[in-house]
Assembly symmetry: C2
Amino acid sequence: MNLSSILRCSTAQKSNPYWRTLRTVAATTVIESIKKSARILIVCHIRPDGDSLGSGFALKKVAEKLGKQVDFVTDSDRPSHYSFIKCFYELNDKKYSGYDLGIAVDCADDTRLGKWLSVFNKCPNTINIDHHRTNNRFAKVNYVYPEKSSACEVVYDLISGDDVIDADIATLLYLGISTDTGNFMHNNTKPETLAAASKLLALGADLEAIVNDFYKNNTKNKIMLTAKAIESMRFFKDDYIVIMTITRKMLEECGCDITDTEGLIDYGMSIGSVGVAVCMTEQNVRSYKVSYRSKGIDVSVAALMFGGGGHKLAAGCVVNGHYEDVVRKIVKSVTDGIAE
Amino acid sequence: MNLSSILRCSTAQKSNPYWRTLRTVAATTVIESIKKSARILIVCHIRPDGDSLGSGFALKKVAEKLGKQVDFVTDSDRPSHYSFIKCFYELNDKKYSGYDLGIAVDCADDTRLGKWLSVFNKCPNTINIDHHRTNNRFAKVNYVYPEKSSACEVVYDLISGDDVIDADIATLLYLGISTDTGNFMHNNTKPETLAAASKLLALGADLEAIVNDFYKNNTKNKIMLTAKAIESMRFFKDDYIVIMTITRKMLEECGCDITDTEGLIDYGMSIGSVGVAVCMTEQNVRSYKVSYRSKGIDVSVAALMFGGGGHKLAAGCVVNGHYEDVVRKIVKSVTDGIAE
């Protein structure tokens, strides 16, 4: 039995004192692994979000405090709406090679590392830090805790005993915990999540910066697109299903690009009667990217009908066809799911 | 020196071990006061919000668990958008008289009790539980802690040592902490606030119910009004000032009433360039209720120019006149404030 397999967490294991001890061993090991290495590669997933950036940057700062040479990379462009992060321009700024240690953060499986997977796999030691239940344990040591809200909460747990968290690192970890929980609204918000956030705030996490630079940093253009998106809403099945549509013309009129559509689906979910919200984003003529969100029924089944996939409460696919036909098919894909 | 004056909290006192001891005495006293009483009147402020309802209902449930007869009242109608609260219909359902103890929650001064002030003042014992810095200490015993986020956080501190918080009480207290901090976004969110929320969640607070019944319980009508409110936005001074206008015609077209305008000003504040957001709500022909929100400058000065008032970051007034004149005056009221 190797450490990697032992550290896979299950509900049964959580209450097992033997497992608890091993977890403590694991928590010691991540800092020890960093200490033993000279050059470290940290990789987060493609199209990085606040949690992957927060956890990756936090570990980079920790390793640098310990005198290590660190590159933090992703197989995507830097996401501009996170440019407020102090060290933002260090992402993808590759300086080193010949890494002793590779750390993957927030990557549910190895394909999420994109082109960096081969470099990661060449490292003599590799660590996989994640919170996705479906994680395929691709590294030599896997710290995968599906009961945790976010990779940042896992990182917090792994390093909080080591007196290495300064205000900047606390801010990075807080950012990831906050964004991955929908600012403490999603059901992955547990007492431990809020306790970690509390301690990070005490360690100097800059909540005001996170709120003003991320949550209250809409552009005029995006807020105008929001109005148009709301006005596009169509309701079906006694207002249980809402479909909003973002056309390329709307983006153009508002001076927005595709990244500005992030989060618009939440306006559908904010309506009390709605059980399933759908956002159709026009990709090309007669081709729509379709995102489903659900408050209960399994929308991955609906997305699967069009060759897509996802989770029970959040799924997506691409549907081609005339607008009205696509709308009709989407409504049917949801109602079929309900019928089951 | 009586207990009432001793318990006024100041920054200097907070670090004083003598004060800390007294605070512990105070915390013991609230449950003791309830235990000594048979009939209790709890009053929250007029036009109650989530914090006043949460703290009042939580104390009612605690007192009832201790076998007491309790009325919880406000000098306003029950606010229908809080009807999801389990015990909602107990508000203003007056059954008793001849109270031994009056408790005011979340009332910054005695005028906030409205018509209930005279009944409150007749109680042989009175307690004032609040978190407003300006509280005028109107009761015999005053538990006023301005460093706390909310009345609910104060109540949590006062009763958390007594093993009386069940899941329902935890949900009520969590509701108030969450709503008064803008769901942990406002700068009154402290490490202690998140620690209290963490413990309440562990005690069974129903976060999912709060999120679905409060934060995600918009009506179709309200979300359509939101779109119209966004479209009404006008920007001034290089987008530093945004003014949105809600006319009576808009409310009528959307099937909304005045309570649906709550929170709309936040869309202005969500824009990165904006330092001051203003919402003008048409009251009568040529009369507007004006709300100011600020990210830094003191908008109470602006509101004061029209005979209104408020706090540095949130203030309001009524301005009469033709629409364009009112807009011009409002912009001037803000820019004059900046010039100072």
